[in-house]
Symmetry: C2
Subunit: 182 residues, 2 copies
DNA sequence: GCATGACTTGTACATTAGTACAAGATCTCG
DNA sequence: CGAGATCTTGTACTAATGTACAAGTCATGC
């Protein structure tokens, strides 16, 4: 019947990217620990062999996905930085952006998967550090010494909101940020 | 050769507890997603069949372990509560206890595994809520309205410390807590 | 004593997993 | 054009996994 699928045009970079993006989706759905070659391949619409061709091992594949997610966040952080520069009320602006970030819960979960995985696997630590350092850098101009505290507060608030599946209390978060920055 | 292992004395409750405790160990090591019947059984020093005899499915087994961990934390929270009542400087006392809690990183990881898993699986949400509510209840007498903010700060600080594998900056945390409680 | 049920232990089985690889197809470059 | 590298696709193989279950052992109530 339907024989072998005709070959698609070659595009190695696109495949790498598609696989990395698929990893993010799968991780958001089932977590890092249950992410498999096959689930990623299916999500990317690619044959199983593509995963191992581009990434020698499953850990490499997952790491590529997490790197992809962290890079996306990096550009989002730049946007935060720009918006904070012109904000009349930085605390409120930050709380608002956190709420926006949290609106896509699937995506947000991935970053916390990464945090927890980094606690166990040193290889993932640089990725987690990149995100945290990026956040602190964004906060530093407005929070000064308190940047790390604000970062912890934000991470904790997001994590709790994700875990309980409750909406973020934006006003309360803004107020708390303000107190830390004072 | 060595035939069948002689039967050990019966003690269903002890087995349930041993399995739950073993789950906590395994989760701390490999994460919830990579926790298996066999790893738990090996850790508990029990045959594979014991896991499915006492817990119909793997999810039940893992849930029992997480419940076990959460209950242990519950009693630790009571101790926190008592110590806070007589503390001259509640913020410093709290930061100290958080640092102590974080000293056993293996154990601490499990709670954050739970958080992240609860974000995906509603069945685990009550467990995560129990921990968060317990923490807030402990904080409420000293932090009042700010209890939730302090809880978020603490959770964020612990998570970041776990992820980066860095020591908790106890003094900075105490100062931040103080600012939130003011 | 002995039958019934609860518990223990080992093993079996189907499924899914990671990874390797063969066979084409397409590209590059002389 | 043609050889060799690169890429695509499907399949194969072994190990590990969740779960079921048979067989044996112990307790408990008649």
């Amino acid at each position: 019947m339907t024989g072998r699928r005709p070959q698609r045009p070659r595009d190695p970079e696109a495949r790498r990217a598609a696989l990395a993006a698929a990893v993010v989706e799968v991780v958001a759905e089932v977590g890092i620990g249950r992410t498999t070659h096959r689930a990623v391949a299916a999500r990317a619409g690619l044959p199983l062999g593509a995963t191992t061709y581009y990434f020698p091992t499953l850990d490499d594949l997952v790491a590529a996905g997490l790197t992809h997610a962290t890079e996306a966040l990096r550009t989002e952080l730049d946007a935060w930085s720009a918006r904070l520069r012109t904000a009349a009320d930085p605390a409120a602006a930050l709380a608002g952006m956190v709420a926006e970030y949290l609106a896509d819960r699937r995506r947000a979960r991935v970053e916390y998967e990464l945090y927890v995985a980094a606690a166990r696997d040193p290889a993932l630590r640089p990725l987690a550090e990149a995100w945290l350092r990026g956040l602190c850098d964004v906060l530093a101009p407005h929070a000064g010494e308190a940047a790390r505290d604000v970062a912890a507060l934000v991470d904790g608030a997001v994590l709790q909101s994700l875990a309980m599946d409750t909406d973020l209390d934006q006003a309360a978060l803004a107020a708390a940020i303000r107190r830390l920055m004072a």
